[in-house]
């Protein structure tokens, strides 16, 4: 993958597409990005960034156990993801320890368990691909699982789009008018676990939380409408994935890290230049010229 001196934009984009693994990586990562981006709007507004971090790290032992038992790794990951949240809730309720401490304590415990299990089981589990993602080496069964889970999450979020928005905004009102808040809480948690599972294939367990919060945070700086926020969040997630994969292909960089770095740069751009909420408040500047 030498970077040719006569490389044009055309071949920059088209050459990687001649490789089967690249086409697959681009498609799958875009799909995963779209799912995580969709969910991201809700998580950032609900203030669940730390929860996203916790769940995504806690799926680690689930992945390892699933590989060892030969069951779909998404199943194992899902069980441990939801289990971690239940444990966090239980410890918080039964002790005087503060919530953020409990969250940090539980997810690092789960994560450590995962690492110990990997060293003990010593099968053909590739620790590196779990920790840092491997969108370029995704297998056919993984593709099927990813598509299935992604569609499931998108359908669930689409059906309960407005209810979830109300739940994030004003759960008390939701409860008062007879909407099942308990259900919505666990729906959002379930979607979070599932999104973490598909996200870890792209960028790995350590960085998957970025997929779940950065696109939403970027979109939050750019709009005051919830629907627009969702669209911007999804688009910025997809664009970051494409940029990340292309850049990692041409410059031989770690793919997961490149995707997240692309997201971070887009966020920083919004942070500086967002029309209304950016540091330089471009809208005011333009209005001034009128």
């Amino acid at each position: 993958m030498e970077l040719c001196s006569f490389l044009t934009l055309d071949s920059f984009i088209k050459d990687p597409l001649t490789h089967d693994f690249m086409r697959k990586a681009l498609l799958m990562s875009s799909l995963v990005a779209a799912v995580c981006g969709f969910l991201s709007s809700y998580l950032t507004l609900k203030g669940w960034a730390l929860m996203g971090d916790a769940v995504s790290h806690s799926v680690m032992p689930g992945v390892v156990v699933a590989y060892a038992l030969g069951i779909p790794f998404s199943l194992g990951a899902f069980i441990f993801g939801v289990g971690s949240v239940a444990l966090i809730g239980f410890i918080k309720q039964k002790s005087r320890v503060k919530e953020d401490t409990v969250i940090g304590l539980v997810f690092t415990g789960f994560f450590a368990l995962g690492i110990v299990l990997v060293s003990k089981i010593k099968s053909n589990i590739d620790l590196h691909s779990i920790l840092f993602g491997s969108p370029l080496g995704i297998s056919l069964s993984d593709v099927k699982q990813t598509i299935f889970i992604s569609l499931l999450v998108v359908i669930l979020l689409s059906i309960f789009r407005k209810d979830l928005m109300l739940y994030c905004f004003d759960p008390r009102h939701a409860k008062t008018v007879g909407i099942n808040v308990f259900f919505l809480h666990y729906l959002l948690l379930t979607c979070l676990s599932l999104a973490a599972v598909v996200g870890l294939q792209s960028v790995g367990i350590i960085l998957v939380v970025a997929m779940l919060i950065t696109p939403g945070a970027t979109a939050y700086l750019l709009t005051d409408k919830f629907d627009n926020m969702t669209v911007i969040s999804v688009l910025s997630a997809i664009i970051s994935s494409l940029i990340g994969i292309y850049v990692s292909f041409w410059f031989d960089l770690e793919t997961g890290g490149s995707i997240v770095l692309a997201q971070t740069f887009i966020f920083l751009f919004a942070f500086l230049f967002a029309p209304r909420y950016g540091i330089f408040k471009l809208k005011k500047l333009f209005d001034g010229y009128k």
């Binding site: 507004l45 309720q93 059906i159 407005k162 209810d163 928005m165 109300l166 994030c168 905004f169 004003d170 008390r172 009102h173 939701a174 409860k175 008062t176 008018v177 007879g178 909407i179 939050y220 709009t223 005051d224 409408k225 919830f226 627009n228 926020m229």
Partner: protein, 254 residues
């Protein structure tokens, strides 16, 4: 003692207790309100005002006692959209990306289908409600760009659009401008004439004398309850606020 006919009361709370993981927030509290009554809920911060509201809306479960709303359970009151809750301004995320129209439309969610698609009647109800609180010029304004008073009116409009017969208002007069205060007090009179029942919490003693037929003084439990003219005495107020004299209570939040 007269025989109680539940149908006569909009709110009927009997010896209710609420605790959070063993910590008692409210105990043995009683309240009865009829249609058209306005009741002030007065107490210190942490005296259980919000907990009382939460118990009535079903947001927290009561550990003891009984609540009847229009003679039925809290659960069926939720289904029937009977109670509307108007939060205090600090209780909501004002930076949430949502417009006045969308907030008021949330008042209709409970009676819509699962996808929450507004029908013609929902759109009309939202329009009417926004008109009543004088926010027609701000339909698509994000709530973050509203003043405190306008935001308060937005949530009042949501309660109106919901067509609830009971309104619970948490500090309706805190942080609002004169215009909003006037509009709210006019709406109160209209609500009263429509037979709605209002329970409002407030720190402001003047508002209690001005608007409330009844007053409920609480400090973890009911200190005094009855007609404002009879119950709202300096002695009762002093007891409610843990021995602090009423004179020092007219300042900012205690």
């Amino acid at each position: 003692m007269e025989i109680i006919n539940y149908q006569n009361f909009r709110i009927e709370a009997e010896n209710i207790c609420v605790d959070y993981n063993g910590k008692v927030a409210l105990y043995d509290a009683n309240l009865r309100l009829k249609p058209g009554q306005i009741c002030g809920l007065v107490g210190m911060n942490g005296a259980g005002k919000t907990t009382f509201f939460n118990a009535l809306t079903g947001f927290v479960n009561i550990s003891k006692g009984k609540i009847r709303i229009n003679g039925e359970s809290v659960r069926s009151a939720q289904k029937d959209q009977t109670i509307a809750y108007v939060p205090q301004n600090e209780g909501i995320d004002s930076q949430f990306p949502i417009s006045v129209w969308d907030v008021v439309m949330m008042g209709r969610y409970g009676s819509m289908n699962i996808f929450r698609c507004p029908r013609e009647s929902d759109v009309q109800a939202v329009k009417d409600a926004i008109e009543r609180v004088d926010l027609t010029d701000h339909l698509s304004t994000p709530i973050g760009n509203l003043s405190g008073g306008q935001r308060k009116r937005t949530f009042l409009a949501r309660a109106i659009a919901q067509r609830a017969s009971i309104l619970l208002l948490d500090e309706p007069f805190s942080g609002v401008d004169i215009r909003t205060e006037k509009l709210i007090s006019e709406l109160f009179i209209q609500f009263k004439n429509e037979g709605k029942t209002i329970l409002l919490s407030t720190h402001d003693m003047i508002h209690v004398r001005e608007f409330c037929d009844l007053v409920l003084l609480i400090n973890k439990t009911v200190v005094a309850y009855g007609e404002t003219s009879e119950v709202f005495t300096p002695e009762n107020i002093t007891t409610t606020f843990g021995g602090i004299s009423p004179d020092s209570l007219f300042g900012p939040e205690s």
